[in-house]
Symmetry: C2
Subunit: 518 residues, 2 copies
C-alpha cells in the first residue's frame, strides 16, 4: 500500500506514518499541544539489587544479557566522548555476535568514529538510527540503504521524545569517565574526562534498563552524581572508554580566515548597534571558528563598557571560561565541554555549572533556557528567502549533519546566523532550502561577508538599524548577489523513498529527506 | 457495610480498604514485588510559560487558583522549615476562604507549629493527613476526630508512593529560602536558610502542579538548583517563609543526662568490640541527645585508631561537621541540616553533599543508601520480645510521632537501638508493641542502661560478643528487669475505629492505629 502524504504548515509533504507509527505533521511554531502523561519506566525494587550497593558485572556483554537485549529493542547512548568514543560501536558488535536483529540505535549524536556502525546496518543488527547522521552514516542513509527510516531530532526534541514516551529506551548504555559501584557517575578527574554528561539525563531517568560503562571505578559516593546510581542497573568496568585526545578535540580555535573574521566583526557590531548586546544579557555561541571570533569581539565590547553577560550557555570552550574569569560573564551553564580549558573550569570555577540539555532545551517542560537567551549565534547549510533554515542536508541533497541544539536555540530572543554567502561556489541563500529544519519566523538576522539581512518580521530591529552604516540589505539582494557570482544553482533530484524524518521540537514532523538520485 | 480485616505477615489485622482504596497487607520483608510503571505527570509545554522564564505571580492565593485547586485534591509540602514554617498552614487558610473541601494534606512531616491545621480538619477543608502526626494532630486523630483515615509512611515510603502513583500530588507547595523567577530553588545563603531541600525532590518531579514560595528572589540561575525550575509552574514571593530561630533549632546538643551518657558509652563500646565500627564504615546517627553522644564517642575512637568513616548520612549537626573537618569522616550526605553549623558546612565543605531522601531511602529504586550503612543508630517508643519496634504510638495508644526515616534505616547492616529501659515508669520493652512499625528481624541490638540485648537472629554478633565484659542479656531478661521495677504495664483499650494506617517501605500495610478509648 502506498503511503499517503499530507502537507504540513511549512508546505512540506509528510507521510502519514514513519516506521509504521502515525506521525503528526508540523502545525506551526507553538501550535501543537501535547496530551497525556509523561512516560514512567517500570517500577524497580531494592529486592533485585545487592544490599551492599555493588552493581559491577564483569563485561558489557554480561550487562546487555542481564538487561535482556533482544530483537527490536531501542538502545540509547550519549556522545560526550565524541570522536574518541570506544563504547558505542562495541554494543552493536556484541549484539551482532548474540544474533540480535533490528535494533534501533538512539544516540544523542554520532561521529566519524561511528562509521563501523554501517556494517551493522547492513547485516541487520540495526534497523535504523534515530539520531544525528554525520558523514558516513548520513551518506549511507541518503543512498537508501538503511532498512528503517532515520528520525532526526534536535537535542531538545530527543529528550522530549524520551520524556513523552514517543521513544521508549529499552537499554541506555552510558559511558562515564568515573563511576562508583552504585553507578553514581560524572565526567571529572579522569583520563577520559569530558567535563559534563549533560546529554545522559533523560536517558537514565526514563530508560527501562541503564548500564554505566567506566574505565575509572572510584569510591562511593562519586560526587557530583550527574548520573544518579539510583537509576542504574549495572556498572561495567573496561580498560578504556575513549581516546583522550579525540574526546576533547583541539579544533576549538578562533578562525584565522579573513572573510570569517570580517563576518564575526560585522556580527559583533550589529549586536552592539542594535542594542541586543547589553549589560546582563544571556548569550550562546557555538564552538565553530566564526562563533568563537564573535565571542571574542563581544568579550572586548563588554570589557570596554564595563558590562557583564549574566549567563553564557555552552558547549563551552576556553574562550567562554576566559570571559568568566575576566569578569565579563557571571555564570556558565554547561551541557558539553569542548576543550580542556572548559573541563578544568568546571572543577575550578564555582559559577561554571553542569546543566543538562534536559533542563536547557526540552520544549515539553515548564519553560526552558532557550527562550530566555538574548543572543543566539547559529550556523546553517542553507537559508531561503523566507528565512527558513537547513542544517541537516547539503545542497547536493545528502544528509550529512545532525540538528544538534539548533532547533531549540531558534527560540532565543535574537537568532543570528553568521554564514558565508557561498560555499565551494554554491550559494547558501536559496529560493527554498533543500530541507526545512527551522521555520523562518524564528530566524532574525543573516550576516554574510557581503551584507546583513534582517527578517522583515523584526520591524523593531529594522527601525533600530535604519541609520546604521553597516551593510544592511534584503535577503533577496544577498541571494541575487550570490547568484551573480556563482550562477543559479541547479535543482537536485531525489528518488521517491523517504530516508529520514526531521522532527520539530514538539515531536511533529517538519520535513523529510529523500534518497539521493545517483 | 462492615470492612473486612485480614491478618498480615506480622499478625496484625488490616482492613481491606483504607479511604476507599484497596490496600495490600504487609507480606514480610522483601516479599512484595511491585508491578506496573512509575507515575508520569501530565506533559507540560513551553507554550504555557512566559518566554522570559518569569513565573512570579502576585500571591499564594493567585498561584493556588491558577493551579485549579478544588475539592478532594492532594496538596503536598515539605518540612524543611520545621517548627519555624510560615507557609504550610497558610495554604489551608486560603483553601478554607475559597470554600474548598476534603483536601488531603500530604506533608513530609508535621510540627507543633501546624496545630492550627486541626481547625481545617474540623471545618471540612481537610479530609485527612497522609503524613506524620506529631503532637496535637496525632492526638486529634487518636480521638477519632479526623474525617478520613490518616496514612503514615516513612520518608522513603512517601517518595515510593509518589513515584509509583499510589499518591498523586495535585499541587506541591514548596517553600524555598531562595529562588529565581524560573523556580530554581535552594536553601542556602538566605535569612531562612535550612541548608538542604532533600525532601522536596519527589514532590517537584511528580506533582501535576508545583508552586515555589520564597522570601528571597535571586538572579537567574540560582545554583545549585535543588528544586529544578523546569518542573515549577509558579513562583510566589512573600515577606517571610519562616522564623529563622525556629527553622534551625538550638536543641541539637549532646545529652547531659548521666543515664543517657552511659547508654551512649555502652553503645560505642559495643560498636568497637563487635567490629561493626571499622575503618571506612558508613554510619548514620540521629540528632537526639543520646545519638549525638554516641557520635562523639565514635569520633574519639576513630581518631584514636586513625580510622575514618567513609560516609555519614544526615540529618546533619555540627558534630558530624566536626568529624568531617577533623578527618574522621570522608563525606557527609545530607538530606536535612539540623543546626547552623551544618547549614554553613554545605557551602564551605566540598565533601558535604546535598543528598535527597529520594536517593537515600526509596525502596522502589535500583538500590538505595540504607542497606549500605554499617552502623545505624535509631530510637523507638517500644520494642517487644520479638524485637519488633514501634515509633508512632506511645504505650497509652496515642499516635504522637511520624515514622521519619526509621523504617528505611532498618535496612542497614547493623541496626542498634539505644533506648531507656523505661520512660516515666512505663517499661519500653513489651510482650507486644502497641503498633508494629518495623519487624523484629531488622532490629539487631537493643542497648539500655541495664544491659544490651542482641537479636537471636544475629548469631554472628552473639558469637563475637561471647567473651565481652559488656552487660549482654536476653531481651526477656531486660523486660523482666523493667517489670520488676515498674510493674507489668496495663493493657490499653481501643475503640473499633481505625484512625491511621502504617505503611511499610514497599507500600503494603504493616499495622493500623485505632481510636483511643477515653
Amino acid at each position: 500500500m502506498k503511503t499517503k502524504f499530507v502537507k504540513n504548515a511549512v508546505g512540506r509533504m509528510i507521510p502519514e506514518t514513519i516506521n509504521g507509527k502515525k506521525v503528526t505533521p508540523f502545525k506551526g511554531v507553538g501550535k501543537h499541544r501535547p496530551t497525556g502523561n509523561k512516560y514512567g519506566p517500570p517500577i524497580p525494587t531494592c529486592i533485585d539489587f545487592s544490599s551492599d550497593g555493588n552493581k559491577v558485572v564483569k563485561s558489557l556483554n554480561d550487562a546487555l544479557k542481564k538487561c535482556g537485549m533482544k530483537d527490536g529493542m531501542t538502545i540509547s547512548t550519549h556522545h560526550h566522548l565524541r570522536n574518541g568514543d570506544l563504547v558505542n560501536n562495541t554494543i552493536f558488535d556484541i549484539a551482532h555476535k548474540m544474533g540480535v536483529k533490528d535494533l534501533v540505535w538512539f544516540p544523542s549524536a554520532s561521529f566519524p568514529c561511528n562509521e563501523p556502525i554501517t556494517k551493522h546496518l547492513e547485516n541487520g543488527t540495526i534497523n535504523r538510527i534515530e539520531g544525528s547522521m554525520n558523514g558516513a552514516l548520513g551518506r549511507f542513509a541518503s543512498h537508501g540503504k538503511m532498512k528503517g527510516t532515520a528520525v532526526l531530532r534536535s537535542h531538545g526534541g530527543r529528550v522530549q521524545a524520551i520524556q513523552d514516551g514517543e521513544v521508549k529506551i529499552d537499554i541506555a548504555v552510558l559511558a562515564a569517565p568515573s563511576s562508583d559501584v552504585f553507578g553514581n557517575a560524572n565526567a571529572l578527574d579522569s583520563s577520559s574526562s569530558c567535563g559534563v554528561l549533560g546529554y545522559s539525563k533523560a536517558d537514565f531517568l526514563y530508560a527501562d534498563k541503564v548500564i554505566v560503562v567506566t574505565d575509572n571505578l572510584v569510591d562511593f559516593p562519586n560526587m557530583p552524581m550527574e548520573i544518579e546510581g539510583n537509576y542504574v542497573d549495572y556498572v561495567v568496568v573496561v580498560d578504556k572508554i575513549g581516546i583522550p585526545e579525540k574526546i576533547i578535540s583541539g579544533t576549538t580555535q578562533i578562525t584565522k580566515s579573513p572573510d570569517r573574521i570580517y563576518v564575526a566583526e560585522l556580527t559583533a557590531k550589529f549586536l552592539e548597534e542594535s542594542g541586543i548586546l547589553k549589560d546582563g544579557c544571556f548569550m550562546q555561541a557555538g564552538a565553530g571558528g566564526t562563533s568563537l571570533a564573535i565571542g571574542n569581539f563581544v568579550h572586548q565590547i563588554l570589557k570596554a563598557k564595563g558590562w557583564k553577560s549574566q549567563v553564557g550557555f555552552g558547549g563551552t570552550t576556553k574562550y567562554m571560561v576566559q570571559m568568566l574569569e575576566e569578569g565579563t560573564m557571571e555564570h556558565i551553564l554547561d551541557a558539553q565541554a569542548f576543550d580542556l580549558g572548559a573541563v578544568a573550569s568546571i572543577s575550578e570555577n564555582k559559577n561554571h555549572h553542569q546543566y543538562s540539555v534536559f533542563n536547557a532545551y526540552n520544549y515539553h517542560s515548564k519553560g526552558n533556557l532557550t527562550s530566555m537567551m538574548d543572543i543566539m549565534i547559529l550556523g546553517a547549510t542553507e537559508v531561503d528567502l523566507n528565512f527558513n533554515g537547513n542544517v541537516a542536508t547539503h545542497s547536493d541533497g545528502y544528509l550529512l549533519h545532525g540538528i544538534g541544539g539548533w532547533q531549540n536555540c531558534l527560540h532565543a530572543k535574537n537568532v543570528i546566523l553568521p554564514i558565508p554567502l557561498f560555499r565551494d561556489r554554491i550559494p547558501v541563500i536559496r529560493d527554498e532550502v533543500t530541507t526545512i529544519c527551522g521555520p523562518g519566523e524564528l530566524i532574525d538576522v543573516i550576516v554574510t561577508e557581503r551584507g546583513i539581512a534582517i527578517n522583515p518580521l523584526r520591524k523593531d530591529l529594522i527601525k533600530q538599524m535604519k541609520k546604521s552604516k553597516l551593510p544592511i540589505k534584503t535577503i533577496q539582494e544577498l541571494k541575487d548577489e550570490a547568484e551573480r557570482i556563482c550562477g543559479k544553482p541547479r535543482a537536485i533530484e531525489f528518488e521517491e523513498k523517504v530516508i529520514a524524518a526531521i522532527k520539530w521540537v514538539d515531536g511533529t514532523v517538519i520535513d523529510v529527506v529523500k534518497q539521493v538520485k545517483e
